[in-house]
């Protein structure tokens, strides 16, 4: 039933849905952006294991996890926000502010057991501020979160100034970087796994997650289906703020240092990983496995290149190239495919058919 011509109608009998042949399902799975990124990850890891000494060690895997943990953590809710066609650039500043507040509260003598919930709550509030400005005031999230990015980072300096609070108890800091007994896997790896699973289930297996796609791809249709687009978006910002705060706690304890400039400019890495993972900046498309693969791809490539003693400058360029290739390649592939279809059609008809590039909507703007 492989139809070579683009105009052929699906040949399923009237009213029947074709049972999905396994090969076809597999084929369509393989063509998704996520699959491309996961494939790239597998290739990268295999290549690195073969070519780079001490890459394929459990110790290195531990380091890799520690390094990508903060980005991975924030990328999870960021994926949801981007799927609803918004963006949050203030995450790194939220992280920094959390870290600063954590340090400040610690020097005031509060117990960590109290500080951590307070910080998470603050993160939720910071996210809610973004969310309210976006949904209630109706401001574009890109602009709003550039503003709060500066504001939150500034507040972090207000709270902690130029100080660095470093006297966190070893019992906490070593647990964060510590390994699960008998393995080289850091505890944070387990935390990540749990978080990723939770977000994965939320996005891919719950009614809420289904709604997010609809809200992002077609807010009007979502409204017609009984969803409150504003509430949904607001909650996504709150979630992002909370997780960014969690990342701030992790960051502070991992480096044992609470500073206002912690994780400066991390937001671009997070956004880059999310976009690399196949999430459309215009909302409505993307998956968590793709994003996690994207985070790990960035992480393992830079890890491998570092181990291979490739200088940092190449790392920076590779990051950018990956990002560009990941959006341009599928588009070019589409165009080539279209071109072929068109050619086969012009064999029957004499006039040309117009090309309607897949991303016509994308000329729409920085985000839709």
């Amino acid at each position: 039933m492989a139809a070579s011509s683009g105009t052929a109608e699906p040949t399923a009998p009237d009213g029947a849905i074709g049972r999905e042949p396994f090969a076809a399902t597999l084929g369509s799975l393989l063509r998704t952006r996520e699959a491309t990124v996961i494939g790239a990850l597998v290739v990268a890891v295999l290549t690195a294991s073969l070519l780079v000494d001490s890459f394929a060690t459990s110790r290195n895997a531990g380091y890799l996890l520690l390094d990508v943990a903060a980005i991975a953590m924030i990328a999870l809710p960021m994926t949801l926000v981007v799927i609803t066609a918004e963006i949050d650039l203030s995450v790194a500043s939220t992280l920094g502010l959390t870290s600063a507040v954590m340090g400040h509260l610690w020097t005031m003598g509060l117990p960590l057991e109290t500080i951590i919930p307070l910080c998470l709550l603050m993160g939720a509030c910071l996210g809610a501020v973004n969310g309210v400005l976006v949904t209630v005031a109706g401001l574009p999230s890109l602009a709003v979160t550039i503003g709060t990015m500066a504001a939150y980072r500034g507040l972090a300096y207000v709270v902690l100034g130029d100080r660095a609070v470093t006297d966190f108890p070893l019992s906490w800091t070593t647990v964060i970087t510590g390994r699960v007994p008998g393995t080289e896997i850091p505890w944070i790896g387990l935390v990540l796994l749990v978080l990723a699973a939770a977000f994965g289930v939320l996005l891919h297996a719950t009614p809420i997650g289904r709604g997010l796609y609809a809200v992002g791809a077609n807010p009007e249709a979502a409204r017609f289906a009984g969803m409150s687009v504003r509430w949904v978006k607001l909650w996504m910002f709150v979630l992002t703020g909370t997780v960014a705060a969690l990342a701030g706690i992790y960051w502070t304890l991992r480096y044992g240092s609470a500073r206002a400039d912690n994780a400066f400019a991390l937001e671009l890495s997070v956004v880059a990983a999310v976009l690399l993972g196949g999430v459309s900046i215009f909302g409505g498309r993307g998956s968590l496995p793709g994003v996690i693969a994207g985070v790990l791809l960035f992480g393992s490539i830079s890890n491998a290149l570092r181990l291979a003693r490739v200088p940092e400058e190449a790392l920076v360029a590779v990051t950018g190239l990956l990002l560009i290739v990941s959006v341009v390649a599928p588009n070019l592939a589409d165009r080539v495919r279209e071109h072929r279809t068109r050619r086969s059609r012009t064999r029957h008809a004499t006039t040309r058919t117009p090309t309607k590039p897949r991303t016509e909507q994308h000329t729409g703007g920085p985000h839709a």
């Binding site: 650039l89 400005l133 005031a137 109706g138 401001l139 574009p140 890109l142 602009a143 709003v144 550039i146 503003g147 709060t148 990015m149 500066a150 504001a151 939150y152 980072r153 500034g154 507040l155 300096y157 207000v158 100034g161 130029d162 206002a260 400019a265 671009l268 956004v271 880059a272 976009l275 459309s280 900046i281 215009f282 200088p311 940092e312 400058e313 190449a314 790392l315 920076v316 360029a317 590779v318 990051t319 950018g320 190239l321 990956l322 990002l323 560009i324 959006v327 341009v328 588009n331 070019l332 590039p357 991303t359 016509e360 994308h362 000329t363 729409g364 703007g365 920085p366 985000h367």
Partner: protein
């Protein structure tokens, strides 16, 4: 935006709404006037606090300080007007600054103009890369320019590999561009002013300039009205790239010492200035005058806060709040204008 209201039960023919038109124009102007007012207030308050703020030297410093951001904001404004964005400007500025500095160091004999041309051309080339990827491959500008942000910076790192060009290596005539004044106004500030005026004039008075607005306002309609959308978007990116290149040249001339980290993180500052200046992030409205004033406002805040002896640690927070305030105000103005137009329709018989 196939907008409109439902029924057509208003039997009378559409009434004239002259009053609203001018009102709208006035609110549009108000956007720029408001910025001027904000800058003026800030300057006066700071001056009252410390009269030295308006000394000849200090005014020169402020003008110089606003130069780069202004030029970048003009370019970014042009891109954002088309409903796109260019995040790579910081890297382009850095690359071009390093290029022009190394070029002039490597060939001490060549005329300064050639060096300047090298910087601008390199910026334009970067713009071509961005523009081609966005317009021809039709991929989202945010993703592409986030990618080129890293790529251009990587090239810069690789090229500089830890070296720096110092003022002493550069021809005095080149540094002179950054240091000389005409009638008390520093040359770079004059260049920025010229850029603002030319770009503003172009966007207002030429067909292709107006078409950029049309594209940003409603891309689908722009295609239907026969506007060469891809070519225009490409052009906007090239223009922005060239201006980032020019900014790089001025950076090198003014600061004299250039390494590979020049311009890091500038992109968000530029986008912020543009948005504060009233250029809608979704395109179609705003002027480069506004964007330039936004840049001047942001950099005046930067200059005034130390003079006002506001705790250094508060400065960034204040800047963030001001950005939020500015976009909120813009939205408020837009909503009020829309409401007045609607009411005008009802009463304006």
């Amino acid at each position: 935006m196939t907008g409109g209201t439902g029924g057509t039960h208003t039997p009378d023919p559409a009434p004239a709404r002259n009053g609203n038109g001018t009102a709208k124009r006035r609110t549009r102007m108000a956007r720029e006037l408001g910025l001027l007012l904000a800058i003026g207030t800030l300057v006066v308050v700071t001056w009252l606090y410390n009269p030295l703020f308006l000394s000849q030297q200090s005014v020169q410093d402020i003008l110089l300080g606003a130069t780069l951001l202004t030029i970048l904001a003009v370019g970014q404004g042009t891109v954002i007007v088309t409903r796109n964005v260019d995040l790579s400007v910081g890297s382009v500025l850095g690359l071009s600054a390093f290029a022009v500095a190394s070029f002039l160091t490597a060939f001490p004999g060549v005329p300064i103009v050639v060096g300047i041309a090298v910087g601008i051309t390199l910026g334009a080339v970067c713009g071509v890369v961005n523009g081609a990827l966005v317009a021809v491959a039709r991929v989202p500008a945010l993703v592409v320019t986030l990618g080129t942000l890293y790529v251009f910076r990587g090239i810069d790192f690789w090229w500089a590999s830890g070296s720096r060009v110092d003022a002493a290596d550069l021809p005095a005539a080149f540094l002179g561009i950054g240091r000389q004044s005409v009638l008390g106004i520093p040359v770079p500030a004059l260049v920025a002013l010229a850029v603002v005026l030319v770009a503003g004039h172009y966007l207002y008075s030429y067909r292709s300039g107006r078409e950029l607005y049309a594209i940003g306002s409603q891309p689908a309609a722009a295609r239907l009205s026969g506007i060469p959308v891809d070519r225009r978007i490409f052009g906007a990116f090239v223009l922005n790239g060239s201006l980032a290149g020019l900014a790089g040249v001025l950076y090198a001339a003014r600061f004299g010492s250039v390494d590979a980290t020049v311009g890091t993180g500038m992109e968000l500052q530029v986008v912020a200035a543009t948005v504060v200046g009233g250029v809608a992030i979704f395109g179609g409205s705003g002027t480069v005058y506004g964007a330039a004033l936004g840049a001047v406002l942001l950099s005046t805040i930067g200059s005034a806060l130390p003079v006002l002896q506001i705790n250094q640690f508060w400065q960034q927070a204040v800047v963030g709040l001001l950005i939020l305030l500015a976009i909120g105000l813009d939205k408020l103005l837009a909503v009020r204008t829309a409401r007045r137009l609607r009411e005008g329709r009802q009463h304006g018989g």
